[in-house]
């Protein structure tokens, strides 16, 4: 009897301690929300993601996205939902369209262009340096100038 009493007395304290429960009701859905929200823009903030913002509109939008995840909508459908209402501005990863082609292709062009410019510049100087051949008179003049310079030092 006594041990039953002890167990009963201990039970409440056991219940109070123990593992903390995850904040979200559905951790998998929450993980999906996080993955999406990190790439979405909080529309009323000074450049923050939907995941990090505490603004009321951000909370509303997170709630909407949670509901869409619960309805088993795909990532693309959720993104389309938001883009239809708020435009491409809400995406931190700019979609590839005609207007953003230069944006996505630009870095690659810069790299290729830079590499070509470098190779061409190097070839050009090789040629120019090879072209410079000195005549006898020019060699004498060079020697004279060098000694002039040396005297000044």
């Amino acid at each position: 009897m006594r041990w039953l009493l002890m167990v009963l007395l201990l039970l409440p304290s056991l219940a109070a301690a123990g593992e903390a429960a995850p904040l979200a009701e559905n951790p998998q859905a929450e993980a999906r929300l996080k993955a999406l929200a990190v790439e979405l823009r909080c529309l009323v903030c000074q450049n923050q993601t939907l995941a990090d913002s505490n603004a009321p509109l951000a909370e509303d939008l997170r709630r909407e996205v949670r509901e869409m995840i619960a309805k088993n909508m795909s990532d693309k459908e959720i993104i389309d939902f938001l883009v239809t209402r708020y435009g491409d501005f809400v995406l931190y990863r700019p979609p590839l369209k005609t207007t953003t082609t230069l944006l996505w292709v630009g870095p690659f062009l810069l790299l290729i262009g830079g590499a070509i410019a470098l190779v061409m510049a190097l070839r050009r100087r090789q040629k120019k340096l090879a072209d410079v051949a000195l005549s006898e008179a020019e060699r004498n003049r060079v020697a004279q100038l060098l000694s002039e310079g040396a005297n000044r030092l």
Binding site: P56, T84, Y86, G87
Partner: protein, 175 residues
């Protein structure tokens, strides 16, 4: 010689864009819904909770949808303009009380006047999201077919009304 001018050329182009940028507002977000059908909603009315206001009911006429709230300062600024517009009878203005408390909204309208024939209550903000609302006040001009024709971000003022909205409404009403 030419290739040494390339940096200057690029720079001039960039400065040109930056200069134009000074005249723009990077935080203003034009709506992609202009030219698309107005999202439907069916929400309880502010003054009579038993009744419902639905966007579909309003097809066949040109109307304005004004998102407002009692906690919003800009709404107070534009309110006289709305009252005047309502009194002129040119176009009906339907109100959408956004993320607000009934009592506060009713009290606010009592104090500042009511330009709306009907006010719907969007307590959760969901209708707002469907309309791409990101702040209040915002006003939409919707035509007879239920298509959004114009969105005003921020308070309405006399200038915008005269130059853009009233002519548009006239045009839409003649269709």
């Amino acid at each position: 010689m030419n290739r040494f001018l390339i940096p200057l050329g690029i720079f001039v182009v960039v400065v040109g864009f930056l200069g134009i940028g000074l005249t723009l507002n990077p935080r203003e977000l034009p709506s992609p819904l202009v030219g698309r059908p107005a999202p439907d909603f069916s929400l309880p009315q502010l003054h009579d909770q038993q009744k419902v206001l639905s966007a579909n009911d309003l097809k066949g006429k040109v109307w304005l949808l004004n998102f407002w709230a009692s906690w919003c300062g800009g709404c107070k600024t534009e309110h006289p303009v709305l009252i005047q517009l309502a009194q002129s009878g040119v176009v009906p203005i339907y109100g959408m009380d956004y993320k607000d408390k009934r009592e506060d909204a009713l009290a606010w309208l009592k104090e500042w006047g009511n330009p709306y024939p009907i006010v719907a209550v969007d307590e959760s903000g969901r209708a707002g999201i469907n309309y791409g609302v990101y702040g209040v006040p915002e006003t939409y001009v919707i035509d007879k077919a239920g298509v959004i024709r114009y969105k005003q971000i921020g308070p309405l003022n006399g200038d915008v009304l005269q130059t853009k909205i009233l002519p548009l409404i006239k045009e839409l009403q003649n269709q």
